[in-house]
C-alpha cells in the first residue's frame, strides 16, 4: 500500500511531556508514523491516547520533547520541524497546513466568507473564498455570521477555511465531535471530496471507529504509543457510514 506513495510527514520517536497544573502528563511515548501525499488517514484513539498532541506537533502548533518530525513537500524539499524556529513554523503553517478544529473556532465577528478570506489573504496560491465555500456546499450562505449558522455549517466553514489555501496537509481534530450523526456524515463527505479533488493529505483525529472505514489507513494510538497500523483495501464512501 505504501509503495509508490511519497511521504509528506514523517515522525520518529516522538515524545511529549507537559505540565497540567500540578501533574506532568506524558502525552506521547515514542511515536513513529508517516503521512503520505494524497492519502486519507485516521488517527484513532480514546481520549488521552495522545492523538491531539500528535496532530498539534505534526501541524507545527507544538513541539516534541524528543524525536524528529520532517515535512517533505510535493517538490521533495524536506524540512525538519523539530529544529524549525517559530518563524519557520509560522511559514510552514501558513503555506502547507490547513486546520479543522472540534469547536470550529470561527471568528464570530466575521462572516463565512470573511472567515475564509482571513486565511486566503495570507496564503500563496489560494482559491477564492467563494469557491471554497461552494466546495463545502455553503455557496448560498456566504454572508452569514457564525451565530446564524448551524453547528454543521460552522464546521463546513471551518473546513472551507482550511482548504481554501490549497494546503498539502489538512489536519482535522475531531471534526465531527460536536455534531450529530447526519451533520457529521455531511462534514465527512466534504473531507472526502476535498481529499479527492485537491489531492491534499487529510489526517482526521477521532475516537469513532467507523470513520476509519472511509480512509486509506487507520493508525491506532493507545497511551501515547502507536498500537496498530491498519491499511484498508477499499475506502468506503462516507455516505455509507453508520454509527
Amino acid at each position: 500500500m505504501d509503495d509508490g506513495k511519497e511521504i509528506a510527514l514523517e515522525a520518529q520517536g516522538l515524545t511529549r511531556r507537559y505540565r497540567m497544573g500540578e501533574v506532568t502528563i506524558q502525552a506521547l511515548r515514542g511515536v513513529d508514523m508517516a503521512l503520505y501525499h494524497g492519502e486519507l488517514l485516521v488517527l484513532l484513539g480514546a481520549s488521552g491516547s495522545g492523538k491531539s498532541t500528535l496532530l498539534n506537533i505534526l501541524g507545527g502548533l507544538d513541539s516534541a520533547s524528543e524525536g524528529e518530525v520532517r515535512h517533505i513537500d510535493r517538490h521533495g524539499h524536506a524540512q525538519d520541524l523539530g529544529r524549525a524556529s517559530q518563524r519557520e513554523l509560522t511559514r510552514y503553517r501558513r503555506h502547507h497546513v490547513g486546520f479543522v478544529f472540534q469547536f470550529y473556532n470561527l471568528i464570530s465577528s466575521l462572516t463565512a466568507r470573511e472567515n475564509v478570506a482571513i486565511v486566503t489573504e495570507i496564503a500563496r496560491d489560494p482559491m477564492p473564498p467563494e469557491t471554497a465555500l461552494t466546495l463545502v456546499g455553503l455557496g448560498e450562505r456566504l454572508d452569514h455570521f457564525p451565530s446564524q449558522l448551524s453547528g454543521g455549517e460552522q464546521q463546513r466553514v471551518a473546513i472551507a477555511r482550511a482548504v481554501a489555501k490549497q494546503p498539502e496537509l489538512l489536519l482535522c481534530d475531531e471534526p465531527t465531535g460536536a455534531l450529530d450523526f447526519r451533520t457529521g456524515i455531511r462534514v465527512l463527505e466534504v473531507l472526502e471530496t476535498i481529499n479527492r479533488e485537491t489531492g491534499a493529505a487529510v489526517a482526521i483525529i477521532t475516537h469513532n471507529e467507523v470513520i476509519g472505514e472511509m480512509t486509506d489507513r487507520v493508525i491506532r494510538l493507545r497511551d501515547g504509543r502507536v498500537d496498530e497500523i491498519q491499511a484498508n483495501a477499499r475506502r468506503r464512501p462516507a455516505c455509507e457510514l453508520r454509527w
Binding site: Y18, R91, F103, I107
Partner: protein, 788 residues
C-alpha cells in the same frame, strides 16, 4: 495589511463598544485635565502679554509724597531708564445716586486730553476727557459694568476732603488694573471700588499737586538692571517722601495675575500629572486584560500562519482606535470646559480680548502619553499571547491550583456560602490580577478624595480667615496717620459696638540675603477684632518686644523664632530697626508682621497715631453708620468685611471650586470606567463557569451573587488604601498650591472620605446593575460549547 483582519478589527471594536468606551473615558479624564489646565493658562498669559505690550505697561513704579515736575528731567538721566511719566494719584471716595454703600476709589491723572505715555487706556466706550476740562473723567470698566454706567452719567467724588462733581466721558480698561482690587483687599469688589482717570490739571488742582507729582511710572532700556534703577530712584526720591520704588512684580494687579498663573501652572502640571499617570496605569491594565480575553483568537490566527508582527499590529490598531477615541473625547470635553472657565476668568481679569486656543504641544504630549501607556499594556498582553505555542493557548486552560484562602480559614464556611467561597478562591487564584483591580479602584478613590479635599479646604480657609482672623465688620482707612483720639469719636457713631485702632507702615524685611516687602501692623496688645492665631488656631498675645510674622513669610525669609531681622521702614523718617521674631502666626490669607501699636508708635518716634480703625457694628444701624462715615473727611476708605468675604467666596466658588467639581466629575468617570472594565472582563473570564452553574441549576440571582460579590469585595478592599493614597495626593496638592496670597489648610473632613468611598460604591452599583442585565442574557449552551 489584510482587509479581513481590519474588518475584524472594526467589528471587534463595535462588539467591545461598552468596554472601549469605558477605557476611552479613563483616557479622556487624564487628557481633559491637561487640556483644561494648559488652555486656561495659555489664554490667561497670552491675553496678558498682548495687553501689556500694546498698552505700554510700566515696569517700575514709585510713590512720593510730593515732588516737583522739574525733577523728572533729572530722573530721566538715571542709567537704564527708558520712558518715564509723572502722575498725580489720589485716594478718593465716590457717591453714586441710588447706591448707599460707601465706594472707595483711586483717581489717576492723564495728560490733558491725551493718552498717557505708559499704562495707556483701552477705551471700551466714549472718549478721553477733553483738554482743559476739570469736570470730566473716564471710569474703570468693571465698576461701570457693575453699576450700569454709560458715558454722560454723573457722579461725585470726594478727593482730599473736597467734593468734585464729575461727568463720565468714557469707560476704559488699563493694564495696571486688570485685576481691580482695593489696597489691603484680596478680592475685587467692583461695586465698591472704582478707578477714575482725570485730566492732569483737574486732579492736581483737586489734590493740591499743582506743578508736582506723587507717582512715577517708567520702563527700562533693554539690558538695564532693574535693581540698580530702583536703587538710584530711591536715592533721589527719598527727600521727596519716596516710599521706595517697586517693580512690576509687586504691582498688585500684575502680582495677582502672576499668582493666578502660577497656580494655573501648578494645576497644569500637578493635576494632569496625577490624572494622566493614573489613567495611563489603568489604561495599561485594562488594555492588557482586554487582549487577554482574545488569547484564543491569537492562538488560532497563529495556527493559520499569521506572523507575530501581523497580530501585534492588529491589536495595536485596536488599542490605537480606543486611545484615539478617548483622546479626542478628552480634547473636546477639555476644550469645552476650558472655554467655560475662560468666560469666568474674563470677568475677573479685564482683558480686552482673550485668545482661546489649545497649544499643539499639549495635544501631542497628551496623545503621546496615552498612546505609550496603551501600547505598553497592549504589547505586554499581545506578547504573552503570541509567545505561547498556539496549541497550548488553544487548549482549554488547565485547572489551576486552588487553595483555601486564609480568609476562608478564618471565617466559618457557613458565613461565606458557596458563592462566597467561589469569590474568595477566584481572587485568591489570581492575586496579581486582583491586586491590579484593587490598585485601579484605589487610585480612583484617591482622585475623588483629592477633588473633595479641594472643596473642603477652600471652605475651611475662608471660614478661618473671616470667622477667626478678621472679626471686624468695617475697616476704616484714614487719609493720613491720625491721633488715637479719633477712636473716641468713632465709638459714638450709630451702631458701633467696638472699636480698635491700628497703625500700618510699609517696610522691607531683611534677613541675611533675603528681602520681602510687607507692612508692619501695630494693633492692641490683645487684639479682639483682628486675631493672630497659632498653629492650633488659638489667639495669641502680641509680644512686648520684637514682632510676629506669618509662618509663610518667615519661611520665605528663612527666619526662625529668636532670629533678629532688619526692618527698613519705607515712609516717614525711614528708620532702620532691628526686631526679633518672637512667634509665628498661622493665617490662611495674606502675610504680615505684627506688633503692639504703642510699641510701633515708639519705634517710629511718633505720638499715639493710627492709620485706621476696625469697627464691630450692629447691623440694624448700618445705613446710619454709612451716612455718618461719609461725612468724615479724614476717612479715605471704608471696607465692608462681609462684602469682602462674599467676594472671595464668589471668586472661589466660580474658579477653584468649579475646577474641583470638574475634577471630581472626571475622577468619578474614571472610577466608573475602571470598575466597568474590571467587571466586564471578570464576566468574560467567568462566563463558562457561570453558565455551568446555571446549567447545574443555580438561579440567576445566585450566579449574579458570585460576580457581584467579586466586584463588591474588590471595591471594598480598595477603599482604605484609596483613602491613604488620597491623603498623599491632597498633601501634594496642598504644598503645590501654597503661595503668599493664600495657603490652603490640609483639612480632610469625613465628607471627603465619604465622597471618595461613595463615588466608587455608586460606580460599582451602577456597573452591578448593568452586569445583571448582561448575565440574564448569558447563553448557557453556547457558553459551554464555544471556546473562541
Amino acid at each position: 495589511m489584510t482587509r479581513t483582519l481590519d474588518r475584524k478589527l472594526l467589528r471587534d471594536l463595535w462588539r467591545l463598544k461598552g468596554q472601549a468606551l469605558a477605557i476611552a473615558v479613563v483616557i479622556a479624564g487624564g487628557v481633559m485635565t491637561l487640556i483644561i489646565a494648559v488652555t486656561t493658562l495659555d489664554a490667561l498669559s497670552g491675553a496678558r502679554d498682548r495687553f501689556y505690550a500694546s498698552h505700554h505697561f510700566a515696569e517700575v513704579f514709585a510713590d512720593v509724597k510730593r515732588a516737583p515736575l522739574g525733577l523728572v528731567e533729572r530722573l530721566q538721566e538715571i542709567e537704564g531708564v527708558n520712558l518715564i511719566e509723572p502722575r498725580v494719584q489720589a485716594a478718593m471716595r465716590l457717591s453714586l445716586a441710588g447706591f448707599r454703600d460707601p465706594i472707595r476709589g483711586l483717581a489717576l491723572s492723564i495728560p490733558d486730553g491725551r493718552q498717557p505715555l505708559l499704562n495707556r487706556l483701552h477705551l471700551v466706550a466714549g472718549s478721553l476727557p477733553e483738554a482743559g476740562r476739570d469736570d470730566q473723567a473716564v471710569v474703570s470698566d468693571a465698576f461701570a459694568e457693575a453699576h450700569g454706567l454709560v458715558p454722560g452719567d454723573r457722579l461725585e467724588a470726594i478727593i482730599n476732603g473736597r467734593r468734585v462733581p464729575l461727568r463720565l466721558t468714557g469707560i476704559a480698561l488699563s493694564p495696571e488694573f486688570l485685576y481691580q482690587v482695593a489696597p489691603s483687599d484680596l478680592m475685587p469688589d467692583y461695586r465698591r471700588y472704582a478707578v477714575l482717570w482725570m485730566n492732569r490739571r483737574a486732579l492736581a488742582n483737586a489734590h493740591g499737586m499743582q506743578g508736582a507729582f506723587n507717582r512715577l511710572s517708567l520702563t527700562l532700556q533693554a539690558g538695564a538692571r532693574r535693581e540698580e534703577v530702583i536703587d538710584a530712584l530711591d536715592l533721589v526720591l527719598a527727600r521727596y517722601g519716596g516710599t521706595g520704588a517697586w517693580s512690576r512684580d509687586e504691582q498688585p494687579s500684575h502680582r495677582f495675575i502672576e499668582e493666578e498663573l502660577a497656580q494655573q501652572r501648578i494645576q497644569a502640571t500637578v493635576l494632569p500629572a496625577i490624572f494622566l499617570s493614573v489613567s495611563a496605569f489603568l489604561l495599561n491594565v485594562v488594555m492588557g486584560r482586554l487582549i487577554q480575553t482574545q488569547r484564543e483568537q491569537v492562538a488560532m490566527l497563529k495556527a493559520f500562519g499569521y506572523h507575530d508582527r501581523e497580530l501585534a499590529r492588529h491589536f495595536a490598531l485596536l488599542a490605537g482606535a480606543i486611545v484615539l477615541l478617548g483622546w479626542a473625547l478628552g480634547v473636546s470635553l477639555g476644550a469645552w470646559a476650558a472655554s467655560g472657565l475662560a468666560t469666568i476668568y474674563r470677568d475677573y481679569f479685564r482683558f480686552p480680548e482673550m485668545p482661546f486656543r489649545i497649544p499643539a504641544w499639549a495635544l501631542l504630549l497628551s496623545l503621546a502619553i496615552v498612546s505609550l501607556a496603551a501600547l505598553l499594556g497592549t504589547w505586554r498582553a499581545v506578547w504573552r499571547a503570541v509567545r505561547r505555542p498556539p496549541a497550548e493557548a488553544m487548549r482549554p486552560p488547565a485547572p489551576q491550583r486552588f487553595r483555601r484562602t486564609w480568609l476562608e480559614r478564618l471565617l466559618p464556611g457557613a458565613l461565606l456560602g458557596h458563592a462566597g467561597r467561589i469569590v474568595m478562591r477566584n481572587l485568591g487564584r489570581h492575586p496579581a490580577k486582583a491586586s491590579l483591580s484593587v490598585t485601579g479602584i484605589a487610585l480612583s478613590v484617591a482622585l475623588l478624595m483629592m477633588g473633595a479635599y479641594q472643596l473642603d479646604a477652600v471652605e475651611a480657609m475662608v471660614d478661618q480667615q473671616y470667622r477667626q482672623v478678621l472679626r471686624m465688620d468695617v475697616e476704616l482707612t484714614f487719609n493720613e496717620p491720625t491721633s488715637t483720639r479719633a477712636l473716641g469719636e468713632l465709638r459714638h457713631l450709630p451702631g458701633v459696638l467696638a472699636v480698635e485702632g491700628w497703625r500700618r507702615v510699609p517696610v522691607t524685611l531683611i534677613h541675611g540675603h533675603r528681602e520681602e516687602r510687607t507692612a508692619l501692623l501695630g494693633m492692641e496688645a490683645r487684639p479682639q477684632l483682628r486675631q493672630v492665631l497659632d498653629a492650633q488656631g488659638r489667639p495669641q498675645r502680641l509680644p512686648e518686644a520684637g514682632m510676629m510674622l506669618t509662618r509663610w513669610l518667615a519661611e520665605s525669609l528663612d527666619a526662625r523664632v529668636g532670629d533678629t531681622l532688619e526692618v527698613q521702614v519705607m515712609e516717614g523718617r525711614r528708620q532702620r530697626l532691628a526686631l526679633t521674631l518672637t512667634a509665628l502666626v498661622d493665617e490662611p490669607l495674606g502675610v504680615g508682621a505684627y506688633l503692639p501699636r504703642r510699641r510701633l508708635n515708639t519705634l517710629l518716634d511718633e505720638g499715639p497715631a493710627i492709620s485706621g480703625a476696625w469697627l464691630l457694628v450692629d447691623d440694624a444701624h448700618r445705613e446710619a453708620l454709612n451716612a455718618a462715615l461719609w461725612e468724615m473727611p479724614g476717612v479715605a476708605a471704608i471696607g465692608l468685611l462681609d462684602e469682602a468675604e462674599r467676594g472671595i467666596r464668589d471668586y472661589l466658588d466660580e474658579t477653584l471650586l468649579l475646577f474641583a467639581l470638574i475634577f471630581v466629575a472626571i475622577a468619578s468617570s474614571i472610577a466608573f470606567g475602571v470598575v466597568y472594565n474590571d467587571a466586564r472582563i471578570a464576566l468574560a473570564e467567568r462566563a463558562r463557569e457561570l453558565a455551568t452553574l446555571r446549567v447545574l441549576g443555580y438561579t440567576r440571582v445566585e450566579v449574579a451573587r458570585i460576580l457581584l460579590g467579586e466586584i463588591a469585595l474588590v471595591t471594598l478592599v480598595a477603599i482604605p488604601p484609596g483613602w491613604a493614597l488620597g491623603i498623599v495626593f491632597s498633601r501634594l496638592l496642598n504644598q503645590a498650591f501654597s503661595n503668599d496670597m493664600f495657603r490652603i489648610p490640609l483639612v480632610l473632613t469625613p465628607q471627603a472620605f465619604g465622597i471618595a468611598a461613595g463615588g466608587v460604591l455608586v460606580a460599582s452599583l451602577l456597573v452591578g446593575i448593568m452586569l445583571v442585565r448582561r448575565l440574564n442574557r448569558l447563553d448557557m449552551v453556547s457558553s459551554l460549547k464555544a471556546s473562541a
